[in-house]
């Protein structure tokens, strides 16, 4: 009889697998189960009642849920695209700077160190309609009665939240794209110049393709924690006014913690998990495709 030896790689991976299984997998299985029950925190016995897909049917036919879902997708689309464009712009500008670049790069990393909840409070303060910096400046430069209700009006509140989110996360893109620009070989650029390419052509056909993997890394890193937006929204508006800034995550936490309807909240949780996973897989695939194109696959 031959004894099978446990392979070394498995031993090395084992601690990671154990921790993740204990802290993430088991709760997720539990929440999957409880999403099929009418579980309420206040009545533990409801955990043993099986109701099948009732919770899912309920949220999928709920207009409030779909509104939050659509808003979340829209929010992510706008925010991620703007962050990418701004990050690209900032990186290109930074690349042209001839002196003090290190200092500027350090400043650029500033927002990355801020806790999302701190960002939320900071912009709640700045966009405050009574004592906020924005309104104070507006009034001081002459708009005497400009007291814009930044966090009270639905559209303005959404704008403020997006501003906060973009402020916090653009630097991830800018820094990664800047690193890509530094790593770029000079020869193709010079060849393009000799061949008479315009600045736009050079950018479009040489710089941008080279930057693609860096852009996708940034996207992948971002897609891992898009849900950080929850902290910001929760602090700045809490989903209000009148649900105009309600995202999937705030709706879920309200259903779970305020209404104590865990089963329903967990069903929503699964929808949001699927959303995050789809984002992540999409960008991971893009990343490996971009890598393969540049021959960096390992």
């Amino acid at each position: 009889m031959t004894r099978r030896r446990v392979p070394e790689w498995f031993v090395l991976l084992l601690p990671a697998i154990i921790v993740i299984a204990a802290v993430v997998l088991i709760p997720l299985i539990f929440s999957l189960y409880s999403s099929f029950t009418p579980y309420k925190l206040t009545r533990p016995s409801t955990l043993w009642k099986w109701v099948g897909f009732f919770n899912y049917e309920k949220i999928l036919t709920d207009a409030k849920f779909w509104a939050a879902f659509g808003r979340t997708v829209l929010f992510l689309t706008i925010v991620l695209n703007l962050e990418l464009l701004l990050g690209l712009g900032i990186a290109l500008m930074m690349n042209k700077v001839t002196w003090g670049q290190r200092t500027l790069r350090t400043i650029l990393m500033f927002p990355m160190m801020f806790s999302p909840i701190l960002v939320g409070f900071q912009f709640k303060f700045i966009f405050n309609d009574n004592i906020g910096l924005v309104n104070n400046v507006l009034q001081s430069v002459g708009f005497q009665n400009a007291s814009l209700p930044w966090l009270v009006d639905g559209n303005l509140a959404m704008f403020s939240i997006m501003f906060a989110e973009i402020w916090m996360s653009t630097s991830v893109f800018a820094i990664l794209i800047l690193a890509g620009l530094f790593a770029m070989p000079r020869d193709p650029l010079e060849a393009a110049k000799v061949d008479g390419c315009t600045a736009w052509q050079t950018f479009r056909h040489i710089t941008l393709p080279f930057l693609m993997p860096f852009i996708f890394i940034a996207m992948t890193i971002r897609s891992l924690d898009v849900a950080r937006a929850y902290d910001i929204v929760q602090i700045m508006t809490g989903g209000g006014p009148a649900r105009r800034t309600e995202l999937l995550w705030t709706l879920m936490s309200r259903t779970g913690y305020v209404d104590a309807r865990m089963g329903l909240a967990n069903a929503m949780g699964y929808v949001s998990i699927l959303l995050s996973i789809l984002f992540t897989i999409y960008f991971f695939r893009k990343l490996s495709a971009a890598r393969a194109e540049l021959g960096m696959a390992g």
Binding site: P7, E8, W9, F10, L12, L13, P15, A16, V19, I20, A22, V23, V24, P27, L28, S31, S34, G89, M93, K96, L104, R105, I107, M109, F110, P111, M113, F114, S115, P116, L118, F121, F125, I126, I131, Q139, S140, L176, F214, I217, T220, S223, D225, V226, A227, Y230, D231, W249, G256, Y257, A265, G269, I273, S276, I277, T280, I281, F284, L287, G298
Partner: protein, 287 residues
């Protein structure tokens, strides 16, 4: 002559536009943070003043209240700071150990379904904190580790391991295999070859992974707000909420705590700034 002049003018205009654009970007990045710092030194009357006061006066009242006033509804800042420090440091250390061994396994061994395992691990990182906090709260409450350092550390380790694996994997992969083979031929054990030869080379990658793990734990809110209840385990992001009452917010006090929260992260990032960028790019591009 005319064309020369036009060309020069255009260059000058571009240069000015570049400078203005950069200046605007930098101000937008800096002003919100500086505003917080500035307001932590202003008396509450002035913060709330209407019309606004633009010439700031200086006071240390908020800091005095924060550090001195554990009584009279004050916020126990020292406890929060200590909790944050313990939880972040311990969870970072454990996550680095576990993540490094995992990253090494991915970088050095061939096995079936490797990329499947890898993406699978990353997906666990993608689970939103809010979605996880509901079931995690119930499970932790059953086990009885809610409101303890241990519970929070456990949660953060699980949260940080996937990303650590991703970064360290990229770094170990860059080190040529011949290096540790040579070390083994010279009589090192596999462990010695790793510890004495490969680890020092990959050190900057490990450092950057550590910074990310630390910042994530230091700043995390969604999980901490549910898994901690009392002064004994609340971290600083949760503590920020102590300054909010039903309808009012003690802005000055909150700004002071915010400054206390941001300074350690700032100092740490300054020290290892170089590794941070290198870690992100190498780990990702060549990984």
């Amino acid at each position: 002559m005319d064309r020369n002049l036009a060309h020069r003018n255009r260059r000058r205009a571009l240069k000015t536009a570049h400078f203005i654009g950069l200046f605007l970007v930098m101000s937008i990045i800096c002003i919100p943070g500086l505003w917080i710092v500035l307001n932590s030194f202003r008396p509450t009357v002035e913060i709330m003043a209407k019309p606004p006061v633009w010439t700031p006066s200086f006071t240390l009242d908020h800091y005095r209240a924060m550090f001195g006033g554990a009584g009279e509804g004050g916020v126990p800042v020292f406890s929060y700071f200590r909790n944050s420090l313990i939880v972040s440091v311990v969870s970072t250390l454990i996550a680095i150990l576990i993540g490094m061994s995992g990253g090494y396994a991915f970088a050095r061994y061939r096995f079936k379904g490797k990329s499947g395992y890898f993406v699978g691990l990353m997906l666990f990182r993608a689970v939103p904190g809010v979605a996880l906090s509901l079931p995690l709260f119930i499970v932790f409450a059953r086990v009885g580790i809610i409101d303890t350092h241990f519970g929070l550390i456990l949660a953060y380790v699980a949260m940080n391991v996937p990303f650590t694996i991703w970064l360290t994997d990229g770094f170990f992969r860059q080190i040529p295999k011949e290096l540790h083979e040579a070390a083994e031929i010279d009589g090192c054990t596999r462990w010695q070859a790793f510890w004495k030869v490969e680890f020092p080379v990959a050190r900057s990658g490990v450092a950057s992974a550590a910074i990310f793990a630390f910042l994530t734990s230091w700043n995390e809110f969604a999980l901490a707000s549910q898994l901690t209840r009392s002064v004994g385990s609340k971290t600083m992001p949760v503590g920020l909420l102590d300054f909010t009452a039903e309808f009012t917010i003690n802005w000055g006090g909150m700004c002071a705590l915010a400054v206390l929260m941001i300074v350690p992260a700032l100092v740490l990032t300054f020290i290892v700034q170089k590794h941070l960028i290198a870690g992100l790019t190498f780990g990702g591009v060549k990984g």
